[in-house]
Symmetry: C2
DNA sequence: AAGTGGTCTAGACCACTCA
DNA sequence: GAGTGGTCTAGACCACTTG
C-alpha cells in the first residue's frame, strides 16, 4: 500500500512485501520517464529515507531491479537507469549468430504498416479479444546489404497508440517499448522448420518451397503480458539460432 | 578461506565474500553426496552457527543456491536438496515441444558407446586437448514409439570414469552428472537447418538430403566448464524448439 | 505450540571510484 | 577524502506448515 511515497502495511491483512512495493514505485518512475535512461538515481540511503524503509529493504528492491535489467549498480559510482536502446540491451531478443559466433542484428527495412482487428492467431498469442485492434508491420532484415529474414510483427494498438504517425518509427520492439513507457521482461521463441512461401522466397532470393527456419516470438512486459508477436522467416544458411538453456 | 567449517577472513588481502565461501562449502556437501537428494538440511540458524556467520549471510548463500537449482526452500517446512533426476529438473535441457505445447522428452535407445581421443570439434566445444579422451554415445530418441531424433554425445572421460562399465547407464546428462557428483549450471544450444545424412534419414524414416533441425548443445557445470557436447538431429515435423529469451 | 523460512530493521565496516 | 555500492552482523517479527 503506497501513499505519497510512504509505504505502510495495515498489519491486519496480508500485504505485498515492502521491497516489492518499493520496486513497483521505482519502476513506475522509470516507465513514466521521471527517471531518464542513463541517469543516476539517488543513493541507497537517501532512497530508503525517502520511502521510509530500511536500507536493507531498499537494497533488496534495487537488486531485484538490476536483475530485471532496469538498473545498473556500480560500486563506488552509483546506480543508473539502463538505456534499453543501448548497444548492449537493444539486441537482447536477437539470438541469431553468424558462423563465427558473432551476433547478427542487421538493419531493418520497413515494408508496410497497417491496422486491423486481431485475427485468431493474434488473439491467442497476444491474449486479445477479436474486436481488439493490432498494428501489423512487415519488415525485411539485412545483413551486409543482403536480405536474410522476413518479419511480420503484430502489436496491440492499445499499447502503442499513434504508432503510424511517428516520423521516424523505431523498428526494435525494445526501443519502441521504452518510448511508450513499457518495461519489457522475458520472451519465448518457437523455432521450427518451414517451407519458403513464394513471397518470402522472392524477398530472400530463395527457392520457393525450400526449407527455412521460422522464428515465432512473443515478447512480454515485466508482468508477463504479451507486448509483441513476431514471425521471422529465413534460411540462415551460414547462421544459427543460439539459445541459452538450463 | 575455509578451515574446519570455520570461515575466516585475513583482513589483509582481498578475500572471496563469505557468502560465496559458504555456498561453495554447502555445494560440495551436495556434490560429494554428504547431503542426499530430497534430504532436508539444517535450518538457517543452525547452519549459520555451524559456519560462524550471521543468519543474513547464510541466507544469502542459501538463496543463491536456490537460484542455482541446488536447493528448494519452503516456508514453514525447511530447506531441501533438489533431486536433479526428478521429473521437474531432469528435463531442464530439453526444449522440444509438441504442437500442443507439451514438452517432448521421449525415451532413449542406446545405439553404441565408445572411447576415443578428442577430435578437433570435441576439443573446441569441450575445451579439451587432442590427447584427452572422450566417451562417444549414439542414441535415438523415441516419442510414442516413433524415432524422431538421432543424438551423438561426447563427454570427457576424465569427468565420467568407468562410464561404460555401469550396468544400467543413465541416458540423461542430468542424472549422470548427479551420480558423478557434478553440479550442472547452464548450457547453450545452437539451432540450425541441416540436411539428413543417409544414416540419419534411415534411422528416422526420412528422405536422405531432406531438411532437418540440428541441435548443437553444450552443457556446463556450475563453474562454466563444459561437461557434455551433444548433436541432435531430427525433422520435428509436428514439433518445435522452444527458447526462453530476454 | 513449536519450528521453519520470509521480511525488515539499524546499524558497522570494506572496496571501489573520482575529484 | 568524500561518496558510492557491497558485505556482514544480530537481532525482531511475521507467515506458513506440521504435529
Amino acid at each position: 500500500m503506497l501513499t505519497n511515497n510512504r509505504l505502510v502495511s495495515t498489519g491486519r491483512f496480508t500485504t505485498r512485501p515492502l521491497y516489492l512495493q518499493v520496486r513497483d514505485a521505482l519502476a513506475s518512475r522509470i516507465a513514466g520517464g521521471e527517471w531518464k535512461p542513463n541517469a543516476a538515481i539517488p543513493n541507497e540511503g537517501d532512497l530508503a529515507r525517502e520511502f521510509g524503509v530500511s536500507s536493507g529493504t531498499m537494497r533488496k528492491a534495487l537488486d531485484l531491479m538490476e536483475g530485471e535489467r532496469l538498473l545498473t549498480r556500480r560500486q563506488g559510482r552509483g546506480t543508473f537507469v539502463n538505456d534499453q536502446s543501448s548497444d548492449e540491451l537493444a539486441v537482447r531478443f536477437s539470438n541469431i549468430r553468424a558462423a563465427d559466433g558473432e551476433r547478427v542484428t542487421g538493419e531493418l527495412k520497413l515494408l508496410g504498416i497497417s491496422q486491423a482487428s486481431a485475427n485468431p492467431a493474434e488473439c491467442g498469442r497476444l491474449r486479445l479479444r477479436p474486436d481488439d485492434k493490432v498494428w501489423r508491420i512487415q519488415q525485411v532484415r539485412l545483413h551486409r546489404g543482403e536480405p536474410f529474414m522476413v518479419e511480420e510483427a503484430s502489436m496491440p494498438v492499445s499499447l502503442f497508440p499513434g504508432l503510424d504517425e511517428q516520423e521516424a518509427m523505431p523498428h526494435r520492439i525494445v526501443v519502441l517499448a521504452q518510448q511508450y513507457g513499457i518495461l519489457l521482461g522475458k520472451g519465448d521463441e518457437r523455432v521450427s522448420i518451414g517451407a519458403a512461401s513464394p513471397s518470402v522466397a522472392e524477398a530472400l532470393n530463395l527457392k520457393a518451397g525450400g526449407p527455412i527456419l521460422v522464428l515465432d516470438r512473443v515478447v512480454h512486459n515485466l508482468d508477463g503480458h504479451p507486448v509483441e508477436w513476431r514471425l521471422g522467416m529465413g534460411h540462415f544458411a551460414d547462421k544459427y539460432y543460439l539459445a541459452e538453456i538450463g
